[in-house]
């Protein structure tokens, strides 16, 4: 079947043969490999995208169910200088190692800051606890987001 939706502000159309996930559709059909496939069970958040304002694991959404929706992926988050503030903050804090989880963290953190512009440390930790990182131990990710938007700086 044909699926039409808006991705990063652009109308996009592609075909799905069956029960493919939105993640597979984005990566293989629409050529947007920024969202990563790491667990396929909604446990790791590497495939996080914003779907009609909600943070979702795109591996748990059927592509066919995303018909007509508005999607933001990591590729759609850049600002005027090419980087979203969250992207710049993670980069500058040394919060990127292998980086496979990074797109998911970027999307989830950007979504968090939209909901809570100045989150507490506990809010950051809890809201991002659906994103697994195997490299950093999360310390640099926390420092990046606290420096960018933490309540202490508000």
């Amino acid at each position: 079947m044909i699926v039409s939706l808006t991705v990063n502000g652009q109308a996009r159309t592609g075909s799905v043969a069956g029960p493919e996930s939105l993640l597979v559709f984005l990566r293989d059909e629409l050529g947007l490999p920024g969202s990563k496939n790491a667990c396929e069970q909604g446990e790791c958040g590497s495939c996080a995208v914003i779907l009609d304002g909600e943070l979702v694991c795109s591996c748990l959404v059927m592509a066919a169910d995303a018909e007509g929706s508005e999607i933001t992926t990591v590729e759609g988050l850049g600002g005027e200088d090419g980087l979203h503030p969250v992207q710049r903050a993670l980069l500058e804090a040394g919060a990127v190692q292998c980086g496979f989880c990074t797109p998911g963290f970027v999307v989830a953190a950007a979504h968090l800051l939209e909901q809570h512009p100045h989150p507490s440390i506990d809010q950051i930790r809890e809201e991002l606890s659906g994103n697994l990182c195997r490299c950093t131990g999360y310390g640099a990710i926390q420092r990046a987001l606290v420096a960018l938007a933490g309540e202490d700086d508000s």
Binding site: N37, E75, R125, L132, G137, G139
Partner: protein, 741 residues
């Protein structure tokens, strides 16, 4: 030509600074190409048929039904392997595809390449295969009795008659841990149209992949090129060949590019794991706490194939006593061969398991002596000039064991009254237990690990530094797995050359020699050492040729004048210097397990603070502080990243991570069932870097990747023991081990 009278500037973004990593922007924007993101025109997708049994005879295997399917382009079995039918990192004993017998659950049996991923998976299902189950050997003790072993190592040192007055014995177990890199095994093989192939696959050491691929393909070395490619984490899981030979076979058979990406469940059986260990220990000390004698028996379950079991066992045995002085030591190590999933490299490489044993013993000994456990460690701490208690090797470089312990002890402890916020209680928002019922404990541990390869292995790294009109390039086959190697090589070259414009160019196996593995905490010292030497030679050569006294991004300087631009310097073409760097030589063990077996050592101390919910058996690791012997921190932020990430893997092994294997089958091969620490599980970490320079690392650097993972586990367990008073002889600690205290 002449230039402005401004002396060359001191180079910025060199060593000692925390700089932006060159792969950082592509990684935060989603544009970095991991091996699972690669595509090529006309590309096929591959899938693997795996054994559903831990031990089985393959009675019948018919690929015809799969081959008959529309869209299936090739189906391969062991009969299609033209060269050496087996592979292996140290000892080639694993069939490229199972032949006649499958020896572990998930062992590859056949391969399918098809027009798309779904057709490839359906092709796998269409293969007709009949297994006859055989009794699996799953008990490593039984394997030991049957002499089914990869290696035995016997270490005897000192006076067999030496006895201590105070004796403690213990039996300890370590469960199997998975590296669980977020990127699964993946890669793309592209045939070159002339019988050769280019491979872009996740790896830690492309040259050793290359050797194994060439052997099994029966090709000449120059017909196969392995390219360093985007790796989504490693931690040891990518040292062994997984899909590398398979992809090349399929690409050559079909004449088309072939891609394969393991799913998560497949990944759990697609790479080796941390060895589960059973360890028996006996420590004897005098009344003052001086270690007199240590005996250990260490049994590692290597699983079905050799991988690196022999070397992991060696590490567990050589570091069986830890960073302590002791004149009399007896260690017997066994690496068993079973039908369990194969085990091999994981961060810490044998030193992790031993550390849990010896640090548990040191705490037991302290109790028996009625002595402060920190004082006992301080009293016995190994130092430069001492002999490693197992091998007898004199430690020549600095070894600040006592200093890391003193430092970590000096750090402030957290406020014992952390309030009632459920997020800060062991049960979290599950609201399980009130603060008043929670018990806090503090525990310490020390760990030691070798740096680089040991036992006489010819450990080297090749690197080339090239000057061009646009700046300098570093050519290396060393694999960046996320740790920041590319960045640190850049920094080393910048400082040594005096130039800021340095690009690190990942270089395939046909264009440069081996950099060795990205493992054993070795690349900063090894490839870093090669880059430093090549950069220094290059700078010297250019300055001599132009009789200059300075070099920077603008060119060569003399007496404060720019006398030649980089374009002038490179008028006849780029100028290159290539260096093969070797660390001080090591030797295999003598008959007593002794000798100069290691090239260098690093130590670390960890202090864990935990809170235990004794009603439900839950643990919250509040903080883990550390002091680590780093030689010299070439990039302090990057070192901190290694420390924090390594500690969390150690915490995972202590309290939640375990591959559950029953009758050879992994029962929790998913991220739903194999628990990885989340943001909420991560302790606060304060890290102190101790900088006492190594004699052979660039600028005095020591490898930093593994020590954080070695003693953090033992420190967490010591803290839980302190909180609940139980002996806790097994990791990971399970709720039933602590509930109801």
């Amino acid at each position: 030509m002449t230039g402005p009278a401004i002396a060359p500037a001191r180079v910025r973004t060199g060593i000692g600074e925390s700089v932006l990593r060159p792969d950082g922007i592509p990684k935060v924007t989603g544009n970095f190409a991991y091996t699972s993101d690669l595509r090529a025109d006309g590309m096929l997708w591959a899938a693997t048929l795996r054994s559903p049994h831990a031990h089985a005879r393959i009675e019948h295997l018919d690929t015809a039904p799969a081959l008959a399917m529309a869209g299936v382009r090739a189906v391969l079995t062991q009969a299609d392997v033209p060269g050496r039918p087996v592979f292996g990192l140290e000892h080639p004993d694993q069939p490229v595809l199972a032949h006649g017998v499958a020896r572990f659950w998930g062992e590859p049996v056949a391969l399918v390449a098809a027009d798309d991923a779904r057709t490839a998976r359906r092709g796998v299902e269409a293969i007709e295969v009949r297994f006859v189950e055989l009794e699996p050997l799953t008990d490593p003790e039984e394997a030991d009795r049957l002499d089914q072993v990869f290696r035995r190592l016997r270490i005897r040192r000192g006076d067999p008659a030496a006895r201590g007055e105070v004796v403690v014995e213990g039996f300890y177990e370590v469960g199997s841990q998975d590296q669980a890199p977020l990127g699964t095994e993946s890669g793309l093989a592209i045939p070159d149209g002339e019988g050769g192939v280019d491979l872009y696959a996740s790896s830690q050491w492309v040259h050793v992949d290359h050797e194994q691929i060439v052997a099994s393909l029966g090709l000449q070395p120059d017909q196969v090129r392995c390219h360093p490619a985007g790796v989504g984490g490693a931690f040891g899981a990518r040292e062994d060949v997984s899909l590398h030979i398979h992809l090349c076979l399929l690409a050559l058979r079909t004449g088309r590019p072939v891609k394969m990406v393991y799913d998560r469940a497949e990944s759990f059986s697609g790479h080796v794991h941390r060895h589960p260990a059973r360890m028996w220990y006996r420590h004897e000390a005098d009344r003052d706490g001086q270690l007199i004698r240590v005996e250990a028996r260490i049994l590692l379950d290597g699983g079905a194939y050799a991988s690196t079991t022999a070397a992991v066992l060696a590490n567990a045995c050589y570091f069986a006593v830890g960073p302590y002085r002791c004149r009399t030591v007896e260690v017997d190590g066994v690496g068993a061969r079973t039908n369990n999933p194969p085990c091999g490299a994981m961060r810490g490489f044998g030193a992790v398991q031993a550390c849990f044993g010896y640090e548990s013993q040191m705490d037991r000994l302290a109790t028996a002596l009625a002595m402060d456990p920190i004082e006992l460690r301080r009293l016995n701490a190994l130092a430069s000039g001492d002999r490693l208690p197992t091998t007898g090797q004199v430690i020549e470089d600095p070894l600040p064991t006592r200093r890391v312990l003193d430092l970590v002890e000096s750090l402030p402890l957290p406020d014992p009254d952390a309030g009632d916020d459920p997020l800060h209680l062991p049960g979290g928002t599950g609201l399980t237990t009130p603060r008043t019922a929670v018990r806090r404990g503090v525990g310490y541990a020390l760990g030691i690990k070798n740096l680089g390869f040991s036992e006489g292995f010819d450990d080297y790294a090749d690197a080339r530094v090239v000057l061009t009109p646009a700046g300098a390039e570093v050519h290396t086959a060393a694999v960046e797995v996320g740790q920041g190697l590319t960045m640190v090589l850049q920094q080393i070259a910048r400082t040594a050359l005096g130039m800021e414009t340095v690009a690190v160019v990942p270089t395939d196996t046909s264009r440069i020699g081996s950099a060795g593995s990205t493992s054993a905490s070795r690349q900063t010292q090894m490839t870093g050492g090669a880059v430093l030497a090549a950069s220094e030679r290059l700078r010297e050569k250019v300055l001599q040729e132009w009789t200059g006294d300075g070099l920077d991004d603008r060119g060569v300087w003399r007496d404060g004048q720019l006398i030649a631009s980089l374009a002038d310097v490179c008028a006849d073409g780029p100028i290159a210097e290539q260096v093969v760097f070797r660390h001080p030589p090591t030797e295999p063990p003598d008959v007593h397990g002794g000798g100069t077996i290691h090239a260098g050592f690093a130590v670390a101390a960890h202090r864990a603070v935990v809170e235990v919910d004794p009603e439900l058996g839950l643990i919250r690791v509040v903080r883990v502080d550390t002091a680590q012997d780093v030689g010299r921190a070439l990039n302090p932020e990057s070192v901190r990243g290694q420390i924090e990430g390594g500690i969390l893997q150690g915490v995972g092994l202590a309290v939640m991570e375990e591959l559950v294997v029953e009758q050879g089958r992994i029962r929790n091969a998913s991220f739903t069932d194999y628990l990885l620490p989340t943001f909420l599980d991560a302790p606060a970490v304060q890290a102190m870097l101790v900088e006492e320079p190594s004699s052979w690392g660039p600028f005095g650097a020591k490898g930093v990747g593994e020590p954080p993972t070695i003693s953090s586990t033992a420190a967490v367990v010591a803290a839980v023991r302190a909180a609940c008073g139980r002996e806790l002889t097994r990791v990971p600690i399970r709720p039933q081990d602590i509930v109801g205290v």
